[in-house]
């Protein structure tokens, strides 16, 4: 999947303004950004649902504008909302999509059974989707995207509105299909989701790429690991700061002192024994790798507001 200098305008605003992307076959790329950053616009263009105003894009080896029908045979799109039909049963939903992808009636039924099995829905096959849990519906929605074994899957915020257990179920299925060789472009507002699933993360802000790399690369851009010590009372904060060295950061509100460390384990041993020697009883000592939240804040200069809204 390849995009070069994509531009897209809605009225006067450039939703995409020179967006570039390259996703190698069989990998997961996480598109990360707050609401309005242009994630969904990018996905809709790549899925041939939106025309572009500039630049070019190729998906599965075909140009999304000139060879849109060829692209459509290779991709599947899972939007933000569920397209599951509540009144139909799980199986009927899958058969319908199979038929719309022009499988014969027999083939569509066989394929539906296979998918129900793979996505752990066999027991609920003949129940109406209305009775499914949120996670089951998502899985059914995902399964319907796999009717044709697409080589590229677009997932637009696949777990928005799901509880943690259901999110876990969806993540497991996404990992499974990636293991089978599907290329996935995932948009998400959840940083941990990108961290969990993506081989490569592209951080978007106001229609362009703000940063990209593997989750680890992005995190190490922030200067690597930190050690954090939490104490029980504020009097001990200067003592701890002293132990952690000259660049220690003190947060008096949370009784927390932190500092960058080069060598994780050695630093932990040194700090623990130094604190013991001075009689400081720490509430908690932890080594922390920066989260993608930190990355996001550092790159865009503002917090991932979407977390608050969600």
């Amino acid at each position: 999947m390849l995009a070069e200098g994509l531009r897209k305008r809605f009225d006067r605003n450039w939703a995409l303004d020179g967006f570039d992307l390259a996703v190698p076959t069989g990998t997961v790329c996480g598109l990360l950004g707050p609401n309005g950053a242009g994630k969904t616009t990018a996905v809709r263009i790549l899925a041939t649902l939106l025309r572009l105003d500039g630049g070019r894009a190729e998906v599965a080896g075909h140009d999304v504008v000139r060879e849109a029908p060829a692209v459509r045979r290779q991709v599947a799109l899972n939007g933000q909302q569920s397209t599951v039909d509540d009144v139909l049963t799980g199986k009927e939903n899958l058969v319908m999509w199979g038929r719309l992808y022009h499988l014969s009636k027999r083939r569509a039924e066989v394929r539906a059974d296979e998918l129900l099995e793979q996505f752990g829905l066999t027991d609920a096959a003949d129940k109406r989707a209305k009775q499914y849990s949120g996670g089951m519906r998502r899985r059914l929605d995902l399964a319907s995207s796999f009717v044709m074994r697409p080589s590229v899957l677009f997932l637009d915020e696949p777990t928005t509105g799901l509880d943690p257990r259901n999110r876990g179920e969806v993540w497991r299925e996404v990992k499974r299909v990636v293991g089978e060789g599907t290329t996935v472009l995932l948009t998400t507002q959840y940083l941990d989701e990108a961290d969990q699933l993506a081989d490569q993360i592209v951080v978007m802000d106001t229609g362009r790429v703000a940063a990209q790399g593997t989750p680890d690369q992005l995190k190490s851009k922030l200067g690597g690991d930190r050690i954090e010590v939490v104490v029980r009372n504020a009097d001990e904060l200067p003592l701890v700061a002293d132990v952690l060295g000259p660049d220690a950061e003190v947060d008096p509100d949370t009784f927390r002192v932190s500092a960058a460390v080069a060598d994780r384990v050695a630093a932990l041993t040194r700090v623990t024994s130094a604190l013991a020697a001075r009689g400081v009883e720490a509430e908690d000592i932890a080594l922390r790798r920066p989260t993608l939240d930190d990355v996001f804040l550092a790159i865009t200069g503002h917090k991932a507001v979407s977390e608050v809204q969600a």
Binding site: R44, A47, T48, L49, L50, R51, P69, R72, R73, V75, A76, L77, G79, Q80, Q81, S82, T83, D85, V87, L88, E92, M96, W97, R99, L100, Y101, H102, R128
Partner: protein
Amino acid sequence: MRYAVVDSWIVAKRDLIHWVREPVRVFANLAYPVISVLIFGLVFGSAMNVFGGGDYIEFLLPGMFGQTIAFGVGSTLMMVSMDADRGVTDRFRASPMSQTGVVAGRSIADLVNSSLELLVLALCGLAIGWSFHDGPLNALLAFALFLWLRFALVWVGIYIGLLVKPEAAQASWMFLFPLTMFANTFVSPELMPGWLRVVAEWNPLSSTVAAARELFGNPGVGGDSWAAQNSLLLAVLWPAVFVAIFWPLSVLKYRNLSR
């Protein structure tokens, strides 16, 4: 081309399954016209005059058929805007299915639904004293005119449905209701004040209803206006005009979802 037919059928089947599984909606759809027939026919009926004479129930039924057909546009645009809102339309568009299938399936399902409504309404009418007097062939022709109007309204519904959100689609009843009353459906236009009379006479729904009255041999036919004199012609023409306008508009709008 073959896929256009298969795909239409699959999309239509989805709707038909909905009706079978959720009969409440069907009953709600059917209950309104049936109750209206009873209220207007039996309650108000005795106080109503048919211009030019005749039995009010005989006059009323073709009007009720017409109102039911016109209300159908509301359910078309509701379904279309819900599919668009829920991303189902996007899924259809991102799939290799025939794009004609999406809309053709819609028309088939809606026409089946409306035929069913007409049938129930006709049975109800027969039970309380309505009948057709010019032979079954003419009666079928009248029903065909209603379905022709319905087909035209499918395209109006698709276009508007792609334009508005489901919440707005719900409000469409507020416009549809007066539109079906400012016509010859319940009262002869001759009995209305001057300006409204012109509106009612030229209302496309009036043409179909008047043509149907003629074909059924029901009272209330005729009038001084050109529209009333040529209702059969207009009952064919008006829907054709709708199709000519809204078919291309809908196709354009559907394509321009990728604007």
